[in-house]
């Protein structure tokens, strides 16, 4: 009998994604669902989707979810996690959600060392509202609200979330990945798994940033979008591990 080596994760519903062709959300969703299946935590996971393209995430994820007002995911996740400390709670946030309107909620949840995970989709643009400037929009990048390109003196600079969050003492694990190639997708899956495991072991706040293509609003073909991440975006937002205190935190936890 043939062995099944690939299938739809149990933590994903049968619904067809509404995301545009080439969008990174569908990949990120799938990776999260795969990790949740792999860790066997579907029954104890509560997800908090954001306002933005991923607002309908509950149509796709097959575990409990509650939608947060724009930017407030980490505050809501804090409330859930402090009430049900043995559940796995994560917020799924875009760049506007995390780094603009919700920077206070995200930053302080991280600083409190809330034992939650944040999956951060950085596509350098506001997707759902039609391609306006995001806090992570690149300098010179054209959006509908920076028609001549993002200008440093008018619009400021791209906000680097991993670099900002990793020095916080409450933060245990921070990594930036992307989904532009099978190798990068595998790395992202590993990072998400590590973040969730960090939470399962009660080791504190974890954040995985995913540089994610938005071909529609970038006005590029999907393949060129991946190329743009690899060649341009990841120069501003370098991939890699920013903080991994997991071993250290484990030792402290074991000593106590």
């Amino acid at each position: 009998m043939a062995k099944k080596v690939f299938g739809r994760p149990k933590s994903l519903k049968e619904n067809i994604f509404h995301y545009c062709p080439g969008c990174g959300h569908s990949i990120a969703h799938r990776l999260i669902a795969e990790v949740i299946d792999e860790l066997g935590i579907r029954g104890i996971t509560i997800g908090v989707p954001p306002a933005g393209c991923a607002v309908l995430a509950y149509n796709y994820f097959d575990f409990d979810m509650i939608e947060a007002p724009h930017g407030r995911g980490p505050a809501m996740a804090t409330g859930i996690k402090r009430t049900l400390s043995d559940r796995v709670v994560f917020s799924y946030q875009g760049d506007g959600d995390l780094a603009a309107i919700g920077i206070a909620e995200s930053f302080h949840a991280a600083n409190r060392g809330e034992n939650i995970s944040v999956i951060f989709i950085n596509n350098a643009v506001y997707g759902m509202t039609g391609g306006q400037m995001a806090p992570t929009t690149m300098l010179e990048q054209k959006t509908t609200t920076t028609p001549a390109g993002r200008h440093k003196t008018l619009d400021g600079y791209p906000v680097k979330v991993c670099e900002l969050f990793s020095p916080l003492k409450g933060v245990t694990y921070v990594e930036r990945c992307t989904v532009t190639s099978p190798a990068n997708i595998n790395k992202t899956r590993k990072a998400i798994k590590k973040a969730f495991q960090c939470q399962l072991d009660s080791l504190g706040f974890s954040l995985v940033e995913i540089l994610s293509p938005c071909p529609t609003n970038w006005k590029m073909m999907p393949i060129d979008s991946c190329k743009w991440i690899d060649e341009v975006m990841s120069k501003e937002f370098p991939l890699g591990m920013f903080k991994d205190n997991i071993t250290q935190e484990k030792k402290i936890a074991e000593a106590v």
Binding site: D62, D64, M76
Partner: protein, 352 residues
């Protein structure tokens, strides 16, 4: 239980914990800091109790929304400017039908205003406050005993109707001390099916306020409206004070009603037959009960520590049925009973 002497802000905290509140988040703002501090001191000694000093009022309301969804009895508190910040979350809780208690210890406004007692947030509290088509139950306690009783009742109503409930008091109520007796709280009735705690081996569920289909969203609005209608039919509370022989009735709530009682005592000592109608629920407003009073009294005076907000609801109740006058002191000015008595006396014999 014996009587204890406590200040208003502490009473709300104690009543909440006794009622089973196990999650409190708040941000410091005068004149309600004692409540936040009380929760900080006492939640840590309460099994499963959580206290978080949040980074903002916006975070606090969303924290309690999350904890509410996860099944805890929840409360947050603030004062006027902070309550404005919470409106996004209150609207969201109304949409998602999440129970929770929001305490507003009002101060002078608009803007940062001042930290003196005021009643300028009546419109905000009774008209929903945030965006969208929704209502919140609003309790207006006027004594420390009511702060205790209504705080406990607020938790029961929030669960019963799966709705945020607001306790609207002012800096005077928060700071004053009176003896109170804490009643025995009722056992919580709240179905597990509304609680988000992980799907287990069963079907997953989600809680949302975003409903993109207009017809579905319309139906959700009508569903909420049907709920508000039931609340309006069943949860109205008010007090009538010395109205049996009254020639004139004062309509006031909260601290203003206390001042009115003092004024009425003085006036009655001088032979003026004045009574008080005090709404205890500001929404739902006791419209028909007030109108019923107009069958025998034709002279009403609304007294508020604002430029006239509840006045609108009194007009909706009495316009065409009786004469309505108004006296207001906004911005944190608190009139004495004798000042109010003089105003009432001037209007007592007016029959225009």
């Amino acid at each position: 239980m014996n009587k204890v002497l406590m200040s208003g802000n502490n009473i709300i905290g104690e009543a909440a914990i006794r009622a089973g509140c196990r999650f409190y988040a708040g941000y410091p703002i005068t004149p309600q800091n004692e409540l936040t501090e009380y929760m900080a001191n006492h939640m840590r000694n309460t099994p499963d109790g959580v206290f978080i000093q949040s980074e903002s009022e916006i975070a606090a309301i969303n924290m309690i929304a999350g904890a509410s969804a996860a099944g805890a009895r929840v409360m947050t508190s603030s004062s006027s400017p902070g309550i404005s910040l919470k409106q996004e979350g209150i609207s969201s809780m109304a949409a998602c039908e999440l129970p929770g208690i929001i305490v507003n210890i009002m101060r002078g406004g608009p803007g940062l205003g001042n930290i003196r007692p005021s009643q300028g947030d009546y419109f905000q509290a009774t008209r929903g406050g945030g965006h969208g088509d929704y209502r919140t139950i609003v309790f207006a306690p006027a004594t420390c005993q009511e702060l205790a009783d209504l705080t406990m009742d607020a938790f029961d109503l929030a669960d019963k109707y799966r709705s945020p409930v607001m306790i609207l008091a002012d800096g005077m109520m928060g700071q004053m001390m009176e003896p109170v007796v804490f009643k025995k709280p009722k056992a919580r009735i709240y179905s597990e099916k509304f609680i988000l705690q992980g799907a287990g081996t069963g079907k997953s569920k989600f809680i949302r306020g975003l409903i993109l289909d207009a017809i579905d969203m319309e139906e959700h609005n009508w569903k909420l409206a049907r709920k508000y209608k039931i609340i309006a039919e069943n949860e109205i509370r008010y007090e009538e004070h010395q109205i049996e022989d009254a020639q004139m009735v004062i309509v006031a709530y909260g601290t203003a009603a206390r001042i009115a009682k003092g004024a009425i005592k003085r006036l009655r000592d001088n032979g003026l037959k004045v009574g008080l109608f005090r709404p205890i629920t500001l929404w739902p407003f006791p419209e028909l009960n007030l109108r019923a009073l107009s069958a025998k009294v034709k002279n009403f005076l609304v007294f508020e520590m604002s430029t006239g907000q509840m006045l609108d609801d009194v007009r909706l109740s009495l316009q065409g049925y009786a004469k309505i006058d108004f006296h207001g002191r906004p911005g944190g000015a608190v009139p004495t009973p004798s000042e109010l008595a003089n105003v009432i006396a001037r209007n007592y014999d007016k029959n225009d």
